[in-house]
Symmetry: C2
Subunit: 276 residues, 2 copies
């Protein structure tokens, strides 16, 4: 605190960014005075800064005096995406995870319609595993560890929508009863990770944890999958820890988060029932 850990941001830049930050999806339009009030600045000052931001293309004036984000913001974002995609950041980490654990490692994202899940990256273990989650393939949100990790951290309306919809049995142990799924997701939310056994593929288990955005809503999941005979309860802990670490480093780079891990009653359960 007393130390200069907070580098005093030059006020002009700080103000400029504060003004830029006003323009989010909930309030995409601002007039000079509105914006000035919102950040607590004298109108002429805000006016000047907004003018500069407009001049730089970060803002743009509508028909009548209202500012919105401009194309420079768009362009900057496009350039950022090129470097900062989940896929790109996660790839080396997943490769390492697959090598270290000798299981299949996966990165799964929501599809654009946000009603399903698509696998983006997959690294094989030394003994290749037949898995329905091949890169590019879409899967429903209620079956499988990665899918459940994602679903558990989606808005409650979405969860309800899925639970009320058809819970198609993908494999032997797919959860198909709405109440059980709801209960199960509560548990996933509580402890911050999901496990599955034969929910998507015969003889295959999976563990996964979600990456969530600033509002706590899931955007992706990282997970491991392996054949039945290799699910060693004593290893789940360390595998989860490794997953968590990898996920956290990716998430951090993107300004996202990973829910806190609760490993407490972990090692006992997985074999007990396919629903856990």
């Amino acid at each position: 605190m007393s130390r200069g850990d907070h580098v005093a941001t030059p006020q002009l830049l700080e103000r400029a960014f504060a003004l830029l930050a006003l323009f989010d999806e909930t309030t995409p339009e601002w007039t000079t005075t509105e914006a000035a009030r919102a950040v607590g600045l004298p109108v002429p000052t805000a006016h000047r800064i907004l003018g500069v931001l407009e001049h730089q293309g970060f803002l743009c004036r509508d028909e009548n005096k209202r500012f919105t984000l401009g194309h420079a913001a768009l362009r900057l974002g496009q350039r950022a995406v090129a470097v900062l995609s989940l896929e790109r950041l996660a790839t080396p980490l997943l490769e390492r995870l697959a090598a270290v654990t000798d299981e299949v490692s996966l990165l799964t994202e929501l599809n654009t319609r946000r009603d399903g899940v698509v696998c983006r990256v997959r690294f094989e273990s030394s003994q290749p595993l037949t898995l329905s989650v091949a890169p590019g393939r879409e899967l429903p949100l209620h079956a499988g560890a990665s899918q459940k990790a994602l679903l558990a951290f989606m808005p409650t309306e979405t969860v309800e929508l899925i639970c009320r919809g058809e819970l198609a049995p993908v494999c032997r142990a797919t959860i198909t009863r709405p109440d059980r799924l709801r209960e199960h997701l509560r548990e996933v939310r509580r402890r911050g990770w999901a496990i599955s056994f034969e929910e998507t593929d015969t003889g295959v288990w999976g563990i996964a944890l979600p990456i969530v955005d600033e509002r706590g809503v899931a955007v992706a999941a990282v997970g491991l999958a392996g054949p039945r005979n290799r699910l060693d309860p004593s290893q789940v802990r360390s595998q989860l820890t490794a997953l968590h670490e990898a996920a956290a480093s990716v998430a951090d780079r993107l300004g996202y988060n990973v829910p806190k891990l609760d490993l407490a009653p972990a090692a006992r359960r997985p074999r007990a029932t396919a629903s856990v």
Copy 2:
């Protein structure tokens, strides 16, 4: 000119944005000194500004001292996309176009793989038209006015790839000979717009022009389509002008461009041959 139309941007902001602008897809990583040299700033000055940008999350330091774009840039871009999508901006204009011309108006974009075209927005005329370009449907790049308008303004390698590939006949007048397609695209490039007749649908003509990014590469096309008996050569001019105006206003908002229109020998040709 002589007037103060160039509002003197405060140098701190100007410098900050100049530094941010360095980070594009070709050079995503910069050290302090590199960046300082690139924008012609004393190292300590650049150092301070970069530090602020990092502090604000717009930049991020890699393992060893190299800066890349940070998550704030990503976030800003996401917020900009919410307001500035082609689809959103073009919709009201296309609606007006459809009403004024009483033809079908279309917005078409490249698909994510950039190997095909997908229709995003479509407004009907008073007499609905059966068209293969329904919203969401993908079409090959060599058949139809919008498709050709896009293809003509793609990198030459892409054009060659398509020309060398299979030029499937979609409809009676689809161009299927590579040399004719190449020749045709040259013409489209030259005059800045494309026309088609029965290339995708029997009895249907279309005109379209592309929206291109800062490098001149196509990102979308806007077009009109109508049934044979309504293709009035004398109207093509005014329709193209209207299209151009609409496209230009959308493009401008996104920092994109629309190629200059050459209307000169327009009205004579369309009926003469399906290939023009």
